[in-house]
């Protein structure tokens, strides 16, 4: 088969020529102004849908995990955070008031205090 530059165009046109049935079908669909969309096989559609669902789920989990921790010091002046049922709170002035009726836990100044909290006190 010749590959002279002058023959390149002809060779390309021949190779990529569409069959007459396809030309007829496309011309008819285009003339109606309403092209027929190519339908994917059911398996492919389901796989794509499943992949999209997994991506959305992972994104939702990521966003939820990135939410800031709730502020624990609105009224009692206590800064801290929970790790499960354990409250970790920095000790600023030598003592820290722990939530709960009349409970007070004195700690050495500076550092972190760790208190087990459960039930309503939490």
């Amino acid at each position: 088969m010749t590959t002279h530059p002058d023959d390149i165009d002809r060779r390309l046109r021949t190779a990529f020529d569409a069959d007459p049935a396809s030309v007829e079908c496309v011309a008819a669909a285009a003339s109606s102004g309403n092209p027929v969309r190519r339908r994917q096989p059911g398996g492919v559609r389901m796989l794509r849908f499943a992949l999209a669902a997994v991506v959305v789920l992972l994104l939702a989990i990521g966003v939820w995990r990135l939410q800031p921790a709730p502020d624990l010091s609105p009224s009692g002046g206590l800064d801290g955070w929970f790790a499960g049922d354990v409250l970790v709170a920095p000790i600023v002035d030598g003592s820290v008031a722990i939530v709960g009726p009349g409970t007070r836990d004195d700690r050495p100044p500076d550092g972190l205090g760790i208190v087990l909290v459960s039930g309503e006190d939490r």
């Binding site: 190779a15 569409a18 396809s22 092209p35």
Partner: protein, 172 residues
């Protein structure tokens, strides 16, 4: 200017008939897949029909259709690369059987597309529009944002390189 009268409808029909095989060829050369090529051709020609009916014929129907086909092919190729692993997993790259009679034509197309892929993007695009899509050099230059002399240079370079590549391949 909405389409009125039968002469414009006849002109539109003639334009569709004339452009369909050219845009199909171009789309097939860009994508390598008949299904995608049909989708691209249908949508770009349907856009021409809508424009023609709503506002009359564009300045150049050829430039209008090929500009849309070029953009659409780019988007579909990108999307196909993204979904290809899933399509291959489902064995759905080509839903139709590939009988022996089509195999030789397909092999030639694959060989040409592999050679085309080695050309610079704009050289390839110029060659596909002019040689495969039968777009005039002036229209192709306008569509690609080049001068006519630049298009001529790119065409010459692309043809020479493609010929050399195919020659080498056939010799080995």
């Amino acid at each position: 200017m909405p389409v009125e009268g039968s002469s414009l409808i006849v002109e539109l029909d003639a334009a569709i008939r004339e452009l369909t095989p050219r845009v199909l060829r171009y789309s097939l050369a860009r994508t390598g897949e008949a299904d995608l090529a049909e989708e691209i051709a249908q949508e770009s020609l349907a856009a021409l029909v809508r424009h023609w009916r709503a506002s009359g014929p564009p300045e150049s129907a050829e430039a209008f259709v090929f500009a849309i086909a070029r953009r659409r092919a780019g988007r579909l190729l990108w999307r196909r690369r993204f979904w290809m692993p899933i399509d291959q997993l489902a064995g759905a790259r080509d839903g139709r059987p590939d009988p022996e009679a089509r195999a030789a034509a397909r092999a030639e197309r694959d060989r040409l597309r592999a050679a085309l892929a080695t050309l610079a993007r704009r050289d390839r695009e110029a060659l596909l529009m002019v040689a495969v899509g039968d777009v005039t050099q002036a229209e192709a230059a306008a569509s690609l944002g080049l001068t006519v002399s630049a298009i001529k240079m790119r065409l010459h370079r692309a043809r020479a390189r493609l010929a050399a590549l195919l020659e080498d391949e056939e010799r080995t």
